[in-house]
């Protein structure tokens, strides 16, 4: 088994709960002698296989692909978001803890005026739920204003709608914070394009090569004295190519 397979099969085990729930000792005396890397600290790589786990609705998938490819289009500087794997990235993030809102405090109620007070909107809905309602509403908006699917609109028109969402001049539906939904998609597409390829996006490290980020390196002592110089370091990722 190579390194990638080892990581993948381990994370599958964890996902199915085949590793004993928790044999973690809660009372400790002495320094632990088992120095193996803890299972739950291994990365959880993107699930491959070419099939979507959360973005299973065909229209929603097309809509979000169209949005992502306007946010990061294909051009002279490199591939588009979806070409770089950002949809696979998003799907696997939405299937994972992030999509489940596993870290959020979700006790109600959400009081009126809460978002003004915090100055940054906060949600009881999970990111997965927000994508589901948001993409549906975006599609309905396109059908209503243009009589066509968002994915089938001209790029200029798609940009116009996205810009309206960004500025807050377009509201997709009363119960959707359109501006915040735009920001969620923008954040996630950037994450896909610039995170380690192990998570499904940033294929061939295109995002890192675009800006010159050397990736998952851990020692720059050799270069630290070359202050202000162009280093042209090759990017490397957490997982070697097969």
């Amino acid at each position: 088994m190579n390194r990638r397979e080892a990581l993948k099969s381990l994370s599958a085990l964890i996902a199915t709960g085949a590793v004993a729930a928790s044999a973690r000792a809660s009372e400790m005396q002495g320094y632990p002698s088992n120095l193996a890397v803890a299972d739950e600290f291994l990365p959880r790589p993107a699930m491959d296989g070419g099939k979507m786990h959360v973005l299973t609705d065909e229209t929603a998938l097309k809509t979000v692909t169209a949005v992502f490819d306007r946010l990061i289009p294909a051009d002279d500087l490199g591939p588009s978001a979806s070409e770089a794997g950002c949809i696979v990235f998003l799907d696997s993030q939405l299937a994972d803890r992030f999509g489940q809102g596993a870290q959020l405090y979700r006790e109600g109620p959400k009081l009126p005026g809460a978002d003004e007070l915090t100055q940054a909107p906060q949600f009881i809905a999970t990111p997965r739920e927000r994508y589901e309602t948001g993409l549906k509403a975006l599609e309905a908006y396109a059908q209503q204003t243009d009589g066509a699917a968002f994915a089938d609109l001209q790029p200029d028109r798609q940009d116009e709608i996205l810009q309206g969402m960004e500025e807050g001049s377009i509201s997709l539906a009363d119960d959707i914070n359109t501006k915040a939904f735009f920001e969620l998609m923008l954040q996630n597409v950037r994450e896909g394009y610039f995170s380690d390829p192990i998570y499904g996006g940033n294929k061939d490290m295109v995002g890192w090569k675009l800006i010159g980020f050397p990736g998952a390196r851990y020692d720059y002592r050799l270069y630290a004295d070359r202050v202000g110089q162009k280093l042209d370091l090759e990017s490397i990722s957490l997982i070697p190519l097969d």
């Binding site: 992030f98 851990y218 202000g228």
Partner: protein
């Protein structure tokens, strides 16, 4: 409910404060049990170099932190508002495992300025009573001076292996160090890190302007080192996966890297992990405490009895435990009566983002705390007679990281945020970006306090903590003043694009991360009417209860807090085994 065998000392929370106290107390021969709500995490088993350099997981998803789901609070600006919960990560980036936030911190290692500890007396002495009592501020001295704390600062720097250069050795000013720092008895144990490009540009500009730049002392240590506990550390590799991350090299000082290898091997030390303390139990007469109640990972409740209890659970949890346990009178902002929850303060931050065309910053080479700073506008290092504020800010530039997801937000004003224009702008500016961050002080105010929320509860059904706070006018004026100075410096640095920022020109919020440094709630002091603990961090109400975390600071300085927490922890632990054990009772009589 089960009851464990009694301990001499119970330590609630094994972060920097808890592990320093446990180390000192076990070495003195006491039986110590530490209880931490997080799981065991360590360098080689959890954040080795094969796992650590992963921005998405640690920097963006913040998987090392304790999630808001488990630990959050509610917040409002003013008394007439209803507080709302902080649902997503905000300014509370608490530690998720043992070691607390000390495992994923950045590592700037500061002593506070002598002015801080006597802020009320010294302000009155230099500027008169009207400046100290402007109707809004609630200034109070700490009940301890810089000189009294100096030996303990020194001890902490030795344990942590801090890299830096002295600027004031016993009163003698030394060029290249921070000449505006308080006098220190000896130099740092390891030399400063290298000067990287952003620092070089900052140093040259500020020197031309007549200021006194120096390399920030850090817990990202510059060379191999063995500390006084016999624990060895490795040299920082400038990996840049530091703030929010563990360290795979044993080079970021933390409870794990500096203390656990010694502490865990002591037979008189026991650690309970994944066990959350829900209250400190009072004796029937209310004069002492008997131990703590905690809930284990399976939801089972236990009692741990002990002769002494030390609350070392980070600022918010230390304060909350006092309120949940009903020890000490809660503070009432309407008439400033009571004490528990008072003097909440934060960090008042402003600065500039800037882009210097043609520069090659190589931002990915960096370390969590690395940067250059000037203290010319910090503390009382400059004359405030004609200014409309007190104190100031450490003004610093960073050589911390070049993380590609988060840096995508750092583009000059007017740059497209998406589309081909974004790709081009990011490509053009990734190498040219740098910043000046004014880490400003925060003065306590009458209406800034912590109490229990009447509406929202945690997973155990206990009320969340509620924070009521907004910046004082003095702090707002300070942030504006230092922002203006940072614009001048950015121009001198040659920046073509400058975007000033000032978190204090809007109301305070817990959602937008200006800083992680939350302060106060159980302030220390010499007067029980305005403090929760005495200068030995001993509860005025129950003499066998001690609290050590930034909750005991009566205000915040223009620096990060951890070294001061660490120095106070060592001092308190020594007072316990050198004085208190021999003669249990109040260490300070009033």
């Amino acid at each position: 409910m089960t009851t464990n065998s009694k301990a001499d000392v119970i330590v609630v929370g094994l972060g920097w404060a808890g592990s320093l106290m446990a180390e000192e107390l076990t070495r003195a021969g006491l039986n110590v049990v530490a209880i931490d709500r997080g799981p065991w995490i360590d360098t080689s088993t959890h954040t080795p170099p094969a796992v650590d350099p992963d921005e998405l997981r640690w920097g963006i998803r913040k998987e090392l932190f304790s999630p808001p789901k488990d630990n959050t609070l509610t917040f409002r600006n003013t008394l007439d508002q209803t507080a709302v919960p902080q649902r997503d990560f905000g300014i509370f980036e608490l530690g998720g495992g043992v070691g607390g936030a000390g495992f994923h911190w950045a590592g700037m290692a500061w002593r506070f300025n002598p002015y801080d500890f006597e802020i009320r007396s010294k302000t009155i002495e230099r500027y008169g009573i009207d400046r100290a009592e402007d109707g809004e501020l609630q200034l109070q001295d700490w009940g301890i001076t810089y000189d009294e704390l100096e030996p303990f600062y020194d001890r902490w720097e030795r344990i942590a292996g801090i890299s830096g250069k002295a600027g004031n050795l016993n009163g003698e000013k030394i060029e290249g160090g921070n000449v505006l720092e308080g006098p220190r008895s000896r130099d740092y144990p390891t030399p400063p890190l290298k000067t990287l490009r952003s620092m070089e540009v900052f140093n040259e500009a500020t020197e031309r302007m007549g200021y006194h730049p120096f390399t920030i002392p850090v817990a990202n240590i510059s060379q191999a080192y063995v500390n006084p506990l016999g624990v060895s550390m490795g040299a920082c590799s400038y990996c840049g996966f530091c703030l929010g991350f563990g360290c795979g090299n044993f080079s970021k000082s933390s409870p794990q890297a500096c203390i656990f290898p010694a502490l865990m091997r002591r037979s008189n030390f026991r650690l309970l992990t994944e066990s959350c303390v829900t209250r400190v139990n009072k004796a029937p007469d209310g004069q002492t405490v008997t131990g703590v109640t905690y809930v284990d990972a399976h939801g089972k409740e236990h009692v741990q009895e002990g002769d002494i209890v030390c609350i070392t659970a980070f600022q918010i949890d230390s304060t909350r435990l006092m309120l949940l346990s009903g020890i000490g009178q809660p503070y009432d902002p309407r008439d400033q009566s009571g004490v528990v929850g008072r003097n909440f303060s934060f960090q008042t931050v402003s600065g500039v983002d800037m882009w210097i065309e043609g520069e090659q910053m190589n931002p990915f080479i960096g370390a969590g705390g690395l940067g250059s700073q000037i203290d010319d506008f910090n503390a009382d290092n400059f004359d405030h007679s004609d200014l409309d504020f007190l104190h100031g800010a450490g003004m610093l530039t960073l050589a911390r990281d070049g993380m590609p997801i988060s840096k995508a937000n750092k583009l000059p004003q007017g740059s497209p945020r998406w589309g081909s224009g974004f790709k081009q702008a990011y490509k053009d500016h990734y190498q040219t970006y740098t910043t000046i961050f004014n880490q400003g002080s925060s003065m306590p105010i009458k209406h800034g306090y912590l109490d229990l929320d009447p509406n929202y509860k945690d997973k155990f059904g206990q009320p969340l903590l509620r924070l009521t706070y907004d910046y004082s006018q003095s702090d707002r004026n300070m942030a504006k003043f230092t922002m203006d100075r940072s614009i001048e410096i950015a121009k001198e640095m040659g920046a073509q694009h400058i975007t000033p920022f000032n978190f204090a020109d809007k109301p305070f919020t817990t959602s937008i991360i200006a800083s992680d440094h939350v302060i106060g709630g159980t302030p220390m002091g010499a007067d029980p009417r305005t403090s929760v603990v005495n200068p030995y961090l001993q509860s005025w109400d129950c003499h066998n209860l001690f609290i050590c975390s930034a909750s005991v600071f009566p205000m915040n300085s223009g620096y990060n807090p951890t070294e001061t927490v660490g120095a106070l922890a060592i001092r308190t632990a020594q007072a316990i085994h050198q004085q208190y054990i021999q003669n249990p009772g109040a260490l300070v009589k009033v």
